[in-house]
Symmetry: C2
Subunit: 308 residues, 2 copies
């Protein structure tokens, strides 16, 4: 089962982290950008190529110590179709490297539209008599503001293609509270969402580690919420953003894990991708710097949360 595959990778590497692939041109060392612009001019194609080379270099440096990558769709979409083409290649390369791919798309729509998104990111689309893949990630992030109609179509593909999803519950940003912390009846809005996640998850199968196919996004920046959510959702795998640059620490994210140090994965994007900016070598050592940052993060989390 999909979250079992992820949990096993985490256990092998003793590393419950996912490297964000936020494909921002500002994160790519100058020498890579320059080369691509010389080749293709100041175009979307050049930007896409620069980022692809950087992504591949990062994955080469990380694939034996980090179990998963999380490309953020926004940073590919802003390069138009050339960005999306490069995202497909990035996902393909990640899989070749044995990395588990969480496509951070935060899609949320209903009915046949949700089915189309699901086909795009997890499943297949029928063309004539052929079933054809789209971006073919292992897992996606989703937004459940529209309710079950926005989630259930994905669960069909998750089940048939052995994949999984993370629904937004408690996000890591400051304005998360504006809606998510309103009192809804006797509960906060994000807890209503947590209960929906639990309900959706119960319609799927459960893997050997006890987790069903509907995970939750639960930000590191609200650790007391994390602790409560962990209790409330014993069968829900957590994706934890907000570590590092956004302020979350190894102590904060500890609450996301179960008693065996399982059931959660912590994201870092800038901390790993931009580690080269702190070494003073103009990015020529970006791969080593990323690897060192990933090891540091792994060890920091592991020191607080042993993984059994």
């Amino acid at each position: 089962m999909s979250f079992d595959v992820l949990q096993k990778k985490i256990r092998e590497m003793k590393n419950p982290t996912v490297a964000g692939l936020d494909a921002r041109l500002e994160y790519v060392p100058e020498f890579i950008v320059k080369e691509a612009i010389e080749e293709y001019g100041e175009t979307r194609k050049a930007a896409a190529e620069a980022i692809y080379r950087f992504n591949c270099g990062l994955m080469d440096a990380l694939s034996d110590i980090v179990p998963a990558v999380k490309p953020q769709a926004a940073y590919y979409e802003n390069l138009g179709w050339e960005g999306m083409e490069m995202l497909e290649r990035t996902i393909r390369y990640a899989k070749e490297k044995g990395l588990f791919v969480i496509a951070d798309i935060k899609r949320g729509d209903i009915g046949t539209t949700a089915s189309a998104y699901s086909e795009a990111w997890l499943g297949k689309t029928k063309i004539g008599d052929e079933l054809v893949s789209g971006f073919d990630a292992d897992c996606v992030t989703l937004n459940g503001y529209m309710g079950s109609d926005a989630i259930k179509p994905f669960l069909k593909d998750a089940q048939s293609e052995d994949k999984c999803v993370f629904a937004l519950v408690r996000t890591s940003n400051p304005s998360a509270i504006e809606l998510q912390d309103m009192m809804a009846g006797d509960r906060l809005v994000y807890k209503v969402m947590a209960e929906l996640v639990d309900r959706w998850g119960k319609t799927t199968d459960v893997g050997e580690f006890g987790y069903n196919r509907v995970g939750a996004v639960t930000g590191a920046t609200y650790p007391s919420d994390l602790r409560q959510l962990r209790k409330l959702l014993p069968h829900t795998f957590f994706l934890v953003p907000g570590y590092g640059a956004q302020g979350g620490t190894a102590e904060d994210v500890h609450f996301a894990f179960d008693r065996y140090g399982r059931g959660a994965i912590v994201n870092s994007s800038r901390g790993i991708m931009c580690a080269w900016k702190k070494t003073g070598n103009n990015g020529t050592d970006y791969a080593e710097a990323a690897r060192a940052a990933a090891i540091e993060m792994r060890d920091a989390i592991r020191a607080v949360t042993p993984i059994l």
Copy 2:
């Protein structure tokens, strides 16, 4: 101002409707699909080409009677990058035809990620010294579950590029109630969202018809909510899905308009795109059928809601 442009088009055509471009292969007449598959095989390229030809035919048939189109991103994403490339072409063609383009993307993410989505769909991305467009729509739909952080970055581009957004408030689907109808304090969750929309809108300028740059998605299938929202949000332009196939009628959507019959646009996707399925001519008359359906919808709405 962007919503003024739309309102003027609506007034000229006396037609407050937007034609959804849900690019489903099942909606495309067989003869178009067959031709594309003969040319390109059973591939994503073939599907994209078939849909593009259909989209263009529809827009040719509609552009003098319908003010706007709303491509739904999901149906392009599920054809991978070829679908996204075709979406760019579709948007370009729509603009050439003078149609106002609402990209139905329902994106919702935060900070720099939201900025990247905004660059992708409304603004421009910096590559070297060049500013390069992505999909370049006139307007997008957004999901505000993550709060202001998910909306504000779009307002910067909306202001500088003279564009606008619609945030989800009350969606038209049956499960909308699961979260949106929870009591939050003394209000329902969707009314909390409505107040956020009002607050975001007040940070932008207001056009000559009295509408600011932050519109709201308010489903036709909950007409009494529509009526309340119209009162609550006098400066908010409404995008109303759920007409026709989903059950909304001209009487239902009447409540979305202000006293001058302004401030709202009603979507129809299947009703127009699939009109050919009811004429018994195997889609050879899809353009005429779409045009007739659009005129019928226009007249039905206009009969209940005169546009001044």
